[in-house]
Amino acid sequence: MSTTYDVIIVGAGIVGCACAHQCSQAGLKVLILDQGPVGGQSTGAGMGHIVTMDDSPDQLALTHYARRLWLELAEDLPAHVEFQRCGTLWVAADAEELDAVKRKVSVYQSAGSKAQVLDARTLHEEEPHLNPAMLGGLLIPEDAVLYPPNAARYLVDRARSFGAELRTGVAVRQIGDKGSVTLGDGSSVEAGLILNAAGCGAPALTPHVPVRPRKGHLVVTHRYPGFVRHQMIELGYLKSAHSVSSDSVAFNVQPRATGQILIGSSRQYGDDSQTIHHGLLSRMMAQACHYMPEIGALSVTRTWVGFRPATPDKRPLIGPSLVSDKVWLATGHEGLGIATSLATGRLVADMIVGRTPEIPIAPYSPARVTQENVVHE
C-alpha cells in the first residue's frame, strides 16, 4: 500500500496531541500512535500548570506565546479539561527573593504579560493560609491550570475532526531514517515525515536525543475548596530547579477545580523507579508545611511519581533531528510540557507547511545539540 500519511506522530502525550491538532488543521494527513492510552505517561502524572517563566528570554518567549494560545482556546475547552485562570503567585520568603520580584515584574511586563507586585499585606489577603512570615509576591494573573490528560484528549479529538487517525495500544519499535515506523507486530507504516513525540521514550527511538527522565513526586488531598486560590510557587524554586545535579524539593501547590489541592514538587535524576522516595516526599511535605502551616492538617488521598522528559539546557527539542530530515522531534519539555504544548504544535506545523512562525525557533532546534554537549551535567 502506498504512503497515505504526511506525518506520523509517535506519542499521544499532550505534546503529540497538540502537534496532531495543529498539523491536521493545517491540512496534513496525520496518524498518531501510542503504546498506551492518550496521556498515560508524563501527561497523566503532571500538574497542569499553564505558567509563563522567565529563566531565559527564550523560555519566556515560548511560555508566553503558549499561554496566549491557551487563553485563545479557553472558550472552546469542555468542562472536563477543568481550565481555570487562577493565576500564578510567586511567593517571596526573604529579602533576596523580594528583590527578585521587583526585577521580574518588569521582565514580564516588557514581554507583554500582566504582572503585579504584592506587598506582604496584599499577599496575605490573596492567600490567607500562607505563613505570615512571607514577605510578598509576584502575581501573574493570566496564568492558568488545567487537567492534562483531558486536555490531551480534547486536542486529539480536535485532530480527528480534521481527519487525523489515532491508534492507541500500538508500540513503535523503530523509526526509520527514510520516513517509516516499525510497529510491535513487525509491520511498518510510511509517511513523509515521522515526528518523535514520545516524551521520555524518545531517546530509545532516535539516536542522539539528549532527553533523560527527571522524576517528580505529587500529592493530592481531599477537597478543601478555597484553601488555596492561586497556583503558588516559592521563588526559591528558581534556585532549586536550576540545580540539575542534586535532588531538590520546592513549595508548589495547585487548587483543582474539584477543591482538591495538588502539592509538589520534587526533582530527581538517576532514579527511574516508580517507587516513592519517602525521604524526598517527607522533605517536600515539610516545605509545604513551612509555607502553609495549616496544610499539615489536610488529608492526603494519593501520592504518585511521574517523569519529566528533560534536556541538558532546559529547552525543548522541536524540529528536524540530527539523524535525518524525515525524522523530527517534539520532546524534552521537562516541567513545562503541558504549558508549552500548544506552542510546540503550532511551531511544528508552521515549519512543516512553511508558515512563518510567530516566535524565533532556533533556540529549540535539535541541531543545537551536537554530540559533545549531549552529556548532562
Binding site: 484528549r153 474539584t258 519517602h278 517527607s282 515539610a286 508545611c289 488529608s299 492526603v300 488521598t301
Partner: protein, 425 residues
C-alpha cells in the same frame, strides 16, 4: 525519636477476630507482639462494641483471651503507608509514628460491596452495614419502614438488628434464588458454621421479617430523598415498596490495599497465602477475610495459624489445618450460594452514578477501556474513598481489574508524611 519510632518482632494489623486470634497465638512465644487497630474498639466487624461484655459468647471468650495475652494493643491507629520492607507509617489522631517489624500479619478484614443502580445515591439509601451502625448508635428507627436488599447472610443479621430497634423491616430481598439457597442450606449441616446460619434465619423469621429470595433492587425512587424502591424477580415481575430507608449490600470484598502496596500476589481477588498463611512476600502473612471472605470461624483459625507460624510454633499451627479446611469448604459454598446474578451487571442507566466520590456516571465511563483510563479521564476512584467502592463496582460491572494500589492505604495527614523517619531506627 522514641515516641515516633516503635519496634516489635511481630506486628498485627487489625484487631478483628483474625487479628485477636493471631495475637493470642503469637503471644505464646518470647517474641514482642503489637496489634494496630484503626478503630477505638477491638473486635472487628462482628464484635466491635464499646462494651466487650455485650458481645456474644465467642466474642467474650476471645476478648478475654486477647486481654490476658501480652500483645501490645494500639487502637485508633491506622497503617497509612509502607515505607520500606519492615517499616510502616502509622497515624493516630494526634500524631504519627514509624513502626518497624520483623514479621507482619495483615488481618485487615473486608468491606461491603455496593452495586450501582438508578437512585442508589439518594439520601437514606445506605450500605447494610452502615444501616446497622446507625441502629447500634441509637439513630431513631422506631416505626421507620425499611427494606434490606442485596446478598449474603449479613442481610439477615442486619434485618434482625433493625427489627429489634423498632424499625418496620418490610422485607429482606436476597438476590440469589431459592434453588441456590436450598443447595447452600442443604450442604450446610455438614460444615462447621451451620448453627450460625440457622440462627440467623430463625431469628429473622421469629421477628416476622419476610425473607424474599430471587428479588433484587432495580431502582430507588425519590426526589431529594428515598421514597420507595422497585424490586424485581427473575420472571420479570416487579414490586414497588414504599419505604423510608433502604440498606443494600452485595456481599463482602477483601481489603487488599495494604497487600497490594507491599507487593503480595493477589489471586482471584484474594491474597495468595501458603499453608502457613504466608504471602508471596517475605515475612508478610495474612489471615481472615483478605484471604477469602468466610466468616468468623475462618478468621479465628487462620489468625491462630498465622500467629503460631510467625513465632515458629509449627506444631500448634499444624493442628489447625484440618479445621481450617472445613472453613474453606464453607467459604466455597458461601461464594457459590450467594454468587451475584448477571442481571445486576445491567442495572445502570447512562446517568447512573458509578463513582460517588467524583460523581462519575456510567455514560462517562463508556469511553474507558479499563480502570486506569477511567481514573485518568474521569477521576473515577480518585476521591476520598480511594476507589474502594467503585473499583469493586466496576470490576463487577465491566470486569476491570485494579492492578496496583497507590499509597497511602488510608488517607493520611500531610504532617504525618513530614514526621516519617526514613533511616531504619
Amino acid at each position: 525519636m522514641s515516641d515516633t519510632t516503635k519496634h516489635f518482632d511481630i506486628v498485627i494489623v487489625g484487631a478483628g477476630p483474625a487479628g485477636m486470634a493471631a495475637a493470642v497465638a503469637a503471644s505464646q512465644s518470647h517474641r514482642s507482639v503489637a496489634v494496630i487497630e484503626s478503630n477505638p474498639w477491638t473486635g472487628g466487624q462482628l464484635w466491635r462494641r464499646p462494651d466487650a461484655a455485650a458481645t456474644p459468647r465467642a466474642g467474650r471468650h476471645w476478648h478475654a483471651r486477647f486481654k490476658a495475652c501480652k500483645a501490645h494493643l494500639i487502637t485508633e491507629a491506622s497503617v497509612g503507608d509502607s515505607i520500606a520492607p519492615g517499616h510502616l507509617l502509622v497515624e493516630t489522631p494526634a500524631s504519627a509514628f514509624n513502626l518497624f517489624y520483623d514479621r507482619l500479619i495483615m488481618a485487615v478484614g473486608a468491606r461491603e460491596q455496593f452495586m450501582p443502580f438508578p437512585g442508589w445515591t439518594l439520601p437514606n439509601v445506605f450500605g447494610a452495614g452502615g444501616l446497622q451502625l446507625l441502629a447500634k448508635s441509637g439513630w431513631p428507627l422506631q416505626g421507620k419502614r425499611v427494606v434490606v436488599a442485596g446478598s449474603g447472610p449479613l442481610l439477615l443479621a442486619v434485618g434482625a438488628q433493625l427489627r429489634k430497634r423498632g424499625a418496620r423491616v418490610l422485607c429482606i430481598a436476597e438476590q440469589t434464588s431459592l434453588k441456590h439457597l436450598v443447595r447452600f442450606g442443604l450442604t450446610l449441616p455438614r460444615l462447621g458454621p451451620s448453627k450460625l446460619w440457622q440462627a440467623l434465619v430463625c431469628q429473622s423469621q421469629l421477628l416476622g421479617v419476610p425473607y424474599r429470595t430471587g428479588y433484587w433492587p432495580i431502582q430507588a425512587h425519590g426526589t431529594d430523598r428515598l421514597e420507595g424502591v422497585t424490586l424485581r424477580r427473575a420472571n420479570g415481575a416487579t414490586w414497588n415498596v414504599t419505604c423510608d430507608m433502604l440498606g443494600c449490600a452485595f456481599g463482602m470484598v477483601p481489603n487488599l490495599e495494604l497487600a497490594r502496596l507491599l507487593g503480595c500476589d493477589i489471586e482471584q481477588g484474594t491474597v495468595r497465602v501458603d499453608t502457613w498463611q504466608k504471602t508471596s512476600v517475605n515475612q508478610v502473612y495474612c489471615a481472615g477475610e483478605p484471604t477469602g471472605v468466610g466468616g468468623m470461624d475462618r478468621a479465628l483459625i487462620e489468625g491462630q495459624i498465622a500467629g503460631y507460624a510467625v513465632t515458629d510454633q509449627p506444631d500448634k499451627a499444624r493442628a489447625l489445618f484440618g479445621p481450617r479446611q472445613k472453613t474453606h469448604d464453607f467459604t466455597r459454598v458461601l461464594n457459590q450460594g450467594f454468587a451475584l446474578r448477571d442481571e445486576l451487571r445491567t442495572l445502570t442507566t447512562p446517568d447512573t452514578i458509578v463513582c460517588r466520590c467524583e460523581d462519575v456516571t456510567a455514560a462517562q465511563l463508556a469511553c474507558c477501556d479499563d480502570f486506569r483510563t477511567a481514573r485518568l479521564y474521569t477521576r473515577c476512584g480518585m476521591g476520598p474513598c480511594q476507589g474502594r467502592n467503585c473499583s469493586t463496582a466496576t470490576h463487577t460491572l465491566y470486569g476491570w481489574e485494579t492492578e496496583f494500589s497507590r499509597p497511602p492505604v488510608t488517607p493520611i495527614r500531610v504532617r504525618s508524611l513530614v514526621d516519617l523517619s526514613v533511616e531504619k531506627e
